[in-house]
Structures are given as structure tokens and as C-alpha cells.
């Protein structure tokens, strides 16, 4: 089970964050209310963690297709806030040589400054 996993890069604009709030129903003001967000330690709005993580899901789906949706596993920590306007790159590094039964990757999302935003592991199991 050896698939090339190509990075995915996207700029998470405030417009995209607002669209994600509408699509997901997550209207936490830290994501969408600039006046409120300026009063928080973040000093401005930040992207939903699940929006950032969506880049990892997209990256794995591009590599494995429907199999990712049926047999993939993802485990991550959100390490740092993603500020509105950040350009985020999701990438994967294979952990050991993929076998017939499984493939595992270290995955991360970084912004344009090299800050690690999301870090964890993605795995693909072989068909049962």
C-alpha cells in the first residue's frame, strides 16, 4: 500500500472562515467576530481547527480516494492558532515503509511563517 501523498496549500481568508462557520454551524465568535476576537489573547480572528484539518483530509483523499473515507484514521493536536489570512500547507511524511496491510504518515500543517499549526498521524488500513 504505497501512495504518494502530495501537500495541499490554501490561504484561509476571513471569507473562507465565515463560509466554514455557515457550513458547519460553528459560530464561535473567536472565528467570525473581529471586534470580539481583538479582545482575546489571539488579538484577532482565528480559523476553526476543523477547517485547518480539512486540508489534511483533502490531502489523504487525493492520495487514497474513497479508501481513505472507508478505512482512514486521523489523530492530531491543534498546536497553534491559524490566523485569518494565513497560508497553510498540509504535508505528510511516511513513517517506515508502507506494507501490504497498512501505511502510516506523520502529518502536519504549517503556515507561511513555518509555525506548526496541526501535528499528528494519519493511517490507512488494508481492506478487511
Amino acid at each position: 500500500m504505497s501512495n504518494e501523498v502530495q501537500p495541499v496549500t490554501r490561504t484561509l481568508t476571513q471569507q473562507r472562515i465565515a463560509a466554514y462557520a455557515r457550513a458547519s454551524g460553528d459560530y464561535n465568535p473567536i472565528h467570525i467576530d473581529e471586534a470580539y476576537a481583538r479582545t482575546t489573547p489571539f488579538g484577532g480572528t482565528i480559523a476553526h481547527g476543523m477547517l485547518v484539518l480539512a486540508l489534511v483530509g483533502e490531502m489523504m483523499h487525493r492520495a487514497f480516494g474513497e479508501a481513505w473515507c472507508a478505512r482512514g484514521t486521523l489523530k492530531v493536536r491543534f498546536k497553534a492558532p491559524t490566523r485569518a489570512g494565513d497560508t497553510v500547507t498540509a504535508s505528510a511524511t511516511a513513517l517506515a515503509a508502507p506494507s501490504e496491510s497498512a501505511a502510516s504518515y506523520s502529518v502536519r500543517c504549517e503556515n507561511q511563517r513555518g509555525d506548526v499549526l496541526v501535528e499528528g498521524r494519519a493511517s490507512m488500513a488494508a481492506p478487511a
Binding site: 463560509a19 457550513a23 454551524g25 483530509g57 483523499h61 473515507c69 489523530k75 492530531v76
Partner: protein
Amino acid sequence: MASAAPLSISALPRGHELPRAEFAVSRADAAAYAAAVGDEAPYGDIVPPLAVVALGLAALQAHVTLPEGSLHTGQEVEHSAALRVDTPLTLTGRIAQRSERQGFVVTVLEFEIAPAGAPGLRARATIMAPGGAA
């Protein structure tokens, strides 16, 4: 069935079972999600698993609220089957862990989302909420 007022996640003890939530992801929901995240890959009838998780968490909002200042600090998802648009799904969940740390309550919400009698996905979301906000 009468529905109780939603409870703050930081007030829920470990082991608390959440009410079942029923929902489905329509083709329009899936398209809105894909457009929002910018994923242009063809999924056909399949709903991106993270869309299922996000909309499942939205369905839980009828029962659980997040205090102002809450942060999502970790996420796990294990897919056992691809889930398709318009499939009736049931979310069952519980508070798997709860701890207090430096004025924050750290809660691990564990849940399964699946069609009746069929495999779906399992997920764990770690939420850090300001203490005393319950």
C-alpha cells in the same frame, strides 16, 4: 420527547452519556462544506469524513454548549465505512475524560456516527474550556 436545555461541556462529568442526535448530510450540505474548505476533489455520493464529524458536532449543539473562550485542541477520527449523502445517521456520544488544568476544563468528547446497524466512524474531540464557565 421534550428536550432539555443544553448544558455547558465543562459541567459534564466523565461518563456522562449524551442524548442521541439524529441527522443526515444532504448533497447541498456536503457541497457547502466542500466549497467552504476549498476541496474540489470529486467525492460522488460520499460525504468527506471530516464533514460528517463537523456536522455531527453541530447536531450536538442542541445538547451541549461550549463556553466562550473554548478551544478545540485535538481531534481523532477512525473511519470504518464511507458515509453517503442523505443517509440517516445517529450520533451517540459520551464524556470520555475530564480534567482541570490551570483554570481550564479539558474534556474529551467521544462519539460514534453511523447509519442504523452499519459501520460509520468513531471520533474523539478534545475541548479546552475556561473553568467556572459552567
